[in-house]
Symmetry: C2
Subunit: 685 residues, 2 copies
Amino acid sequence: MATINKDIDTLVINTIRTLAPDVVQKANSGHPGAPMGCAPMAHILYSKFITVNPKQPHWINRDRFVLSNGHGCALLYIMLHLTGHNITMDDLKGFRALDSKTPGHPEANHGVDGIEVTTGPLGQGIASAVGLAIAEAQLAATFNKPKYELIDNYTYVILGDGCMQEGVQAEAVSLAGHLQLGKLIALYDDNHVQIDGDTALGFTEDVVKRYEAYGWHVQVITDGDHDVDGITAAIEKAKAVTDKPSLIKVRTTIGFGSKNQGLEKVHGAPLGEPDIESVKTKLGFKSDQKFYVPQEVYDFYKEIGKKAEKKTEEWYQLLDAYTKEYPELASELKRRLAKKLPNGFKEALPKYTPADPAVATRKLSEMVLNKIAPLIPEFIGGSADLTGSNLTRWKGAEDFQPPSTKLGTYAGRYIRFGVREHGMAAICNGIAAYGAHISFGATFFNFISYALGAVRLSALSKHHVLYIMTHDSIGLGEDGPTHQPIETLAEMRAIPRILNFRPADGNEVSGSYLAAFEEQERPSVLILTRQNLPQLEGSTIEAVRKGAYVLQGKEGKADICFVATGSEVSLAVEAAAELAKQNIKSRVVSMPCWELFADQDIEYQQSVFPEGVPVVSIEAMSTFGWDRWAHASIGIDRFGASAPYKDLYKKFGLVPDVVADKAKKVIEFYKGRTPENKLLRPFPY
Amino acid sequence: MATINKDIDTLVINTIRTLAPDVVQKANSGHPGAPMGCAPMAHILYSKFITVNPKQPHWINRDRFVLSNGHGCALLYIMLHLTGHNITMDDLKGFRALDSKTPGHPEANHGVDGIEVTTGPLGQGIASAVGLAIAEAQLAATFNKPKYELIDNYTYVILGDGCMQEGVQAEAVSLAGHLQLGKLIALYDDNHVQIDGDTALGFTEDVVKRYEAYGWHVQVITDGDHDVDGITAAIEKAKAVTDKPSLIKVRTTIGFGSKNQGLEKVHGAPLGEPDIESVKTKLGFKSDQKFYVPQEVYDFYKEIGKKAEKKTEEWYQLLDAYTKEYPELASELKRRLAKKLPNGFKEALPKYTPADPAVATRKLSEMVLNKIAPLIPEFIGGSADLTGSNLTRWKGAEDFQPPSTKLGTYAGRYIRFGVREHGMAAICNGIAAYGAHISFGATFFNFISYALGAVRLSALSKHHVLYIMTHDSIGLGEDGPTHQPIETLAEMRAIPRILNFRPADGNEVSGSYLAAFEEQERPSVLILTRQNLPQLEGSTIEAVRKGAYVLQGKEGKADICFVATGSEVSLAVEAAAELAKQNIKSRVVSMPCWELFADQDIEYQQSVFPEGVPVVSIEAMSTFGWDRWAHASIGIDRFGASAPYKDLYKKFGLVPDVVADKAKKVIEFYKGRTPENKLLRPFPY
């Protein structure tokens, strides 16, 4: 048996090593080196460790595999093909072609089963894998019962030198060590080659020692090109270490088999036909046979697939038994996997009237969380060490912590991310990707700029993540320009497929959370004040869904229309009152979510911004982008300053009389002519 | 002598520990804990190690001090006050007040001497300090001669737990270890407290072991509250280790002296008067005496200042002697310190005619670098492991490397940053801040999103940094949406005080570099294509300075005006040709730099976009923000896709016939009415 396995192992590995260059060559673009070097690791993982069932690709207890060096995705596509996922040989031939299922880097939630998280931007895969492992641990602690280990999957990762150098990796794996995520097992493709050449050029740290410093269990394999038994044994050993994540450093040869193996040349460009032919000959394949998978290889993986199917079947039987013994827990688990929100959460959202006191929206957010976090047990996340400022820890929250720390349990849902914004966002992606949670991360809004690499992947990968961002403008006051977002909201609005909410009061905070929870395929950003804001006449929870609505001045033709968000809506109301004294009629539009308003039909949009009325936007930050809706903009097109916030609002002219004066200039400007209708466009875009 | 010093040390330290809470209390905002805990370290550094001369604050060979935990800036302001820099006691009393010299976090280049780099956003200080140390090593290797150690300053850093958790820190210090920056000495304020509480909540890694893994020399001080001799000896020892950067882990008590010392409570809020009085009593001060500095303390630092003045004088004498012996080198050094660009570099910029072949702007950038990098020896930088893609290594470049690696020397100017984008940007800030270099960093444009935390500080701190960003759109093709910038240029345009250049051909690439080198107080981003672009009729180097200009169709009234940047300018030209066949007259405006165009007077702007002609923007990315200049926009308001770039341009309608059709829709749309004049605004903003 051992001998046969050995043979088939070699055959599979060499199949990958010959198929990958074909895939890249046909596309005339891509990265052959990593697939050829990582072939043994990938094959060992998929044949001996990973249980996945292509017929049940979303089975919650499947093992997760993340190719963090996503540029090597020819390898992942080949493994998904061999294991019977929905990638055909034609899909492999369509590598990197228009509208193919095999794009240049692996994209999660884009129709291909078995791609757990989007990778390619370096460091994201390993960091998101930490999130996958957190999700597993949390779900297991929540639902497992004696005799019912419903959730016990592993998260396997391959990562390369590029990932190892990224800060997002460092942040996430440090936290993973603290969290003692024993089911996270990462194989480090230590090939000594990066794009610039030998890693000796700039990466000479002792990775083993560094990971040990993080509290990881570390092993080293010196011949990763051939040592199937060694790699297998190391993974077995890693599984046996249950209180530490594991790193296995595997010395490999990039582009193994190529004439240029071990050199940068094989990293990011096709090998060329002559070299490919030479590889095939060297590895015992016919030099002119392209896209070839021996039938034995297909057969071998078919057998593995059968085993996985059996395991899945057994799992569903286990679930049936569990359902009988723990009907409520089972129904709760099923609800979560079906991505249905629990009943009653909408009704629990706080409502306000103008008689209620002024409260900071971050505080209103806390009040929402106090109400709904207990009702939505799939909600899990935390702050990048700003809990007391972000106000994200609800009453009765338990920390997600290894029990040995006595600081919480794995069933806890509040994560102490530490000062690790980028890691936090990538981890949130992984938690959401696992499939049983809605994740959230929190920091000061300005510091989402540390995390944008991961935030854009939340949007690209359609993850249900909430970013709770407080201290949203110069309104944070004394911390000054290093902490005051000026460009940040414009940056966020420019990202496709993401919802940015900047609520103006309590009702809008509730409405923003409602929309953020209901929108499953767009991440949401909640942008909240440090300072108190009054409860507005005219605001409602429901109105947020439309993105913008007329708060005041709905009746009759206005002379001027203010549109504002967040803390500047009450400023618009005050400016309108100022103008009313001068017999100038204003409309005030609150626009908590630009993107949702853009989604509305033109009739609704025109009911908000009627033809002929000039629109003035007010936001205590960059005016960049506001020409979309407004004929003039009041904002701050420079960096902020350090002072008590009321002084800053005055300094920057964000006070009712200055706003009213500017509005009058706009009215004067448009006297006798019609302001452009911003809602009509010659063609849609 | 030793006894007296001991006494004065204690007196100074206790002065800081009593003054800092006063400063924070008066502002009713700020962070007293770190200054009280770090007082011994800061005093030891400033009294025994740091040579700075407030009368010559920009003296190039001064020691650099960076308070990476910038929230503790009351400490820095106090030290600058004691050492005689331009911070008065009144400035301390104006802490965090409007327009004071003592904002909430230290801001470099904002009028206060002795603030080397902006800190507060965590991790930035230590990462920029790596840049300061690189700059020192490079300048020393370039100018020092036997008997003339002109450049030999140290870079000292204090950093806290927050910095230690940030990925940007991890990236930069890993590189610092590789680079063997022996003159970089960092003191780690190991106080076990962060905002969420005890660091045990999420930061349990072994920092000593991690830094050793990076190749740092690490020491530990167990009683950082009192052990003046121990800290002093450790810094001495660190100085003696010349081939490794040093970390000294100093166990301290946050808020030392407060009733709540050692607790999170003292981190980020004033202590309150009763506690402050108690601190003063405990430390031997009068409980009701505020903002008190004993005369002995002033006198003590006056003596230290005199020593520094003497050292400065000696240095200038050395420079005089050096000038006699090495007149050319001396004049070159003086040119650089005066921030004068060398003669002849403008003339060396390549010029092109339409007869020249189509070339990718990244390649044109390489041709510029080949010409001018040898002429501008202050130009130093590199790529985040994408040298062969960014094409940033000019012919004859030498690597900046420790000589022992035999890969380069410290006189080299090409830095192998590794896959460390955020660290790279922060290091570039530090290099520029040193005062003798123009720094640059390179990666794919999409991955500037990894680095925005530092890039915004380049702008805030007015650093002369160039970001050379290639692969600027879907034009990168097969790598797909994970690598294709969509929102990125809009994000960059939203940042205040930064210049974004997206040149369309060779002349514009040359012009962009010219502007980027001449603009000293705004960082520049050069946004370059992977794919070839034709050399355009009508482009010039000089025109770039205006930000936008009429490339074609200057004469006569146009029916439509295209405005485009980079690769889409030639598309606009082709669309105009298509329309010309249909007797529709187009103007084509190239806008390589939006920000410089916004700087122009209204007359020039109107000469580019004449009244009455509808404007259509074309950019192969988000249309976000284009309503500023254009009446309609052609772009991509979704994520990109993976395919050869020509397929993508077609898929997204960025081909001449589709563009021409859209232009006709715009003409039709505005038939019989005047499009809004986008250049006129009711009030300036």
